[in-house]
């Protein structure tokens, strides 16, 4: 417990350092040090420095921090809710719905009414992904809630069915798409922070921050759920509030994150796991540490994605999968006895 608390500070420090480092990395040769010096002394930045640092790298950094925190905290909350260390935010249907929304927007954008294109600007895909994610989560929640009680097991099974359905619909859209659309949606599925802008930060940021704030209050409830739903009620928790809060915050945070960054895997599963191994399963420090470590790792992955084949960049989902999948397998091997249901 004390150890997990100490980790808050170390992770926060690491986030700051990696964040500053990420501002120095990129296709163009703009150094951070001189720019900061100019800022400090009140000297004007060159136009180039302004564009690269303020319009390109800074929003990308902030978006990376937000998305990483949202995905990792979402994973931690889902694992607590499903009482299973292998759960991830996809289980509440948000990824399937968001994917379907995004693909629909990419493929059918030409057929969309003009006012929609005007209203969403060039963010139609993000908006469609967000609403797709929310719609499927609400549908799942309805299906698995009877008389004010949500059955987590029903939700899991219904989520599989809904995922298959969304996959089939996506398949139809893929079938009718042309080559350029196919390329777009493939890249969307691989995830990227490449399109980061302050507009996206402003759209996704409040939703993610609000969800994170609510989720960070769920620690006590998720600890109680670890003892089983009945016991959680016996020790005085309102179990339905915990479940509803968990599902809605995860849908909000993950929906917004997926909408602005596409499909980025493994952060949600691997981060809470690493933290549980290093500092125990208590959800109160775990949820906050997960947000910090998720932000840290995603920004780091983005730096790798930007430098590894510079001046081109790799989709970040490839980086997180290449690094995350082996870690995940290693966890499975190590914990074979521990993930029994």
């Amino acid at each position: 417990m004390a150890r997990a608390r100490r980790l808050h500070g170390w992770l926060a420090l690491a986030v700051v350092l990696v964040g500053l480092f990420s501002l120095t990395v990129g296709a163009t040769d703009v150094a951070l040090g001189p720019a900061l010096w100019k800022l400090a002394t009140g000297e004007a930045l060159t136009r180039m420095e302004m564009i690269v640092l303020w319009d390109i790298r800074a929003p990308r950094l902030v978006l990376g921090l937000l998305v990483g925190a949202a995905l990792a905290m979402g994973g931690a909350v889902m694992q607590g809710l499903f009482r299973n260390p292998l759960a991830d935010p996809g289980l509440v249907g948000v990824s399937a719905g968001a994917g379907l929304g995004a693909i629909t927007a990419i493929v059918l954008a030409g057929a969309a009414p003009a006012w929609l294109a005007v209203a969403t600007g060039d963010h139609l895909v993000a908006v469609a992904a967000f609403f797709g994610g929310w719609a499927s989560t609400l549908l799942l929640y309805r299906v698995s809630t009877r008389r004010g009680r949500t059955s987590v097991a029903t939700m899991l099974l219904a989520g599989i069915a809904l995922g298959a359905l969304a996959g089939a619909l996506s398949g139809i859209l893929v079938y009718i798409s042309d080559d350029r659309q196919l390329r777009d949606l493939t890249f969307w599925g691989l995830g990227s922070l490449g399109g980061a802008s302050w507009a996206k930060v402003l759209a996704a940021g409040p939703i993610i921050l609000l969800s994170l704030a609510v989720a960070s209050a769920l620690g006590r409830g998720l600890n109680g759920l670890a003892l089983g739903e009945a016991t959680a009620g016996h020790i005085g928790l309102n179990v339905q509030w915990v479940k509803g809060g968990a599902i809605l915050t995860v849908a909000g945070a993950t929906g917004a994150a997926v909408a602005v960054s596409g499909g980025i895997g493994f952060i949600g599963i691997v981060v809470p796991h690493l933290l549980r191994l290093s500092s125990g399963p208590d959800h109160r420090p775990l949820l906050i540490n997960a947000a910090l470590l998720g932000a840290l790792l995603l920004v780091l992955a983005d730096v790798i994605a930007r430098v590894i084949i510079a001046p081109a960049e790799l989709p970040i989902g490839i980086v997180t999968a290449v690094l995350g999948a082996p870690v995940f397998l290693w966890i499975l091997l190590r914990q074979r006895g521990m993930v029994d249901l």
């Binding site: 008389r147 109680g224 670890a226 003892l227 009945a230 399963p281 208590d282 521990m338």
Partner: protein
């Protein structure tokens, strides 16, 4: 103060498990509920704890269980379920503390440690729960329950221990120890409702016994009255002979008698 159950009916789907049942349990006494498998003992405890929807009225210290908030109930009673599970590798002491962090509030420092010591697991605080033996796990859960309502009686009245088979996986020494803890809780002014399968421990420790069969109360009263050949034989469906020790009124039952009767 009492736990008062009036006209309780519980059904699972279309199946009626408890029908029109009345019982009263008073604080300051250990009330044992006995009866065969499937007779509805756990279901009764769950209804009293507010886990199930039911018809009828259940009150705890005058509080209507069906409409009370979870945290109101948690400050007045703690529940040891028949079976417990735990997700994630928590330490034994953390399991006890989870029982403390929610609900009662204002818990004293060192309460969790004291509760573990009470069940003779003081040295087990930093062992992983999953790596404890079945009986040790059951005692950790009991420690969690005790920590939640540490004082048997507060300014607001008595508190209640609801124990569903508290000694089912314990060795004989720890069976006696756990029953003594429950008895002491009752002596301190609290109430205890315990589902029991061991008729001898029931005879030894219970102040009142409720015998259940097929979702109904077959008999209720002090052990020396209720635990007789007729009632127990009818409840369990086998010929049982009740005896008493020379030292006191506590009844005991040996399976040997049923065995002897069954063999021609």
């Amino acid at each position: 103060m009492t736990v008062c159950v009036e006209g309780l009916s519980v059904r699972y789907g279309a199946r009626v498990v408890i029908e029109d049942l009345d019982i009263i349990a008073c604080s300051g006494a250990l009330t044992a509920i006995v009866g065969p498998n499937g007779s509805g003992k756990s279901t009764l405890i769950k209804a009293i704890c507010g886990d199930l929807s039911y018809d009828g009225v259940v009150t705890l210290n005058g509080l209507d269980v069906a409409s009370a908030h979870p945290w109101e109930l948690a400050s007045q009673r703690a529940v040891l379920p028949q079976a417990s599970t735990l997700a994630f590798p928590f330490h034994a002491i953390e399991v006890v503390r989870i029982g403390l962090t929610a609900g009662t509030g204002g818990a004293q420092a060192g309460r969790a440690e004291a509760a573990l010591a009470r069940v003779e697991l003081a040295g087990y605080a930093n062992r992983y729960y999953q790596e404890l033996s079945g009986g040790e796990q059951q005692r950790v859960q009991l420690a969690r329950v005790l920590a939640q309502i540490w004082e048997p009686c507060t300014g607001q009245g008595p508190r209640w221990l609801m124990l569903d088979e508290p000694v089912s996986s314990l060795d004989v020494a720890h069976q006696l120890q756990v029953m003594s803890i429950a008895k002491e809780f009752a002596r301190g002014g609290g109430g205890v409702l315990a589902v029991m399968h061991d008729l001898n421990l029931t005879g030894l420790f219970a102040d009142r016994v409720v015998v259940m069969a097929e979702g109904q109360v077959l008999a209720a009263g002090p052990p020396e009255e209720v635990m007789n050949d007729a009632v127990l034989s009818q409840a369990y469906g086998c010929a049982l002979r009740v005896n008493t020790t020379p030292h006191g009124p506590a009844p005991f039952v040996l399976p040997h008698t049923a065995e002897a009767h069954a063999a021609p």
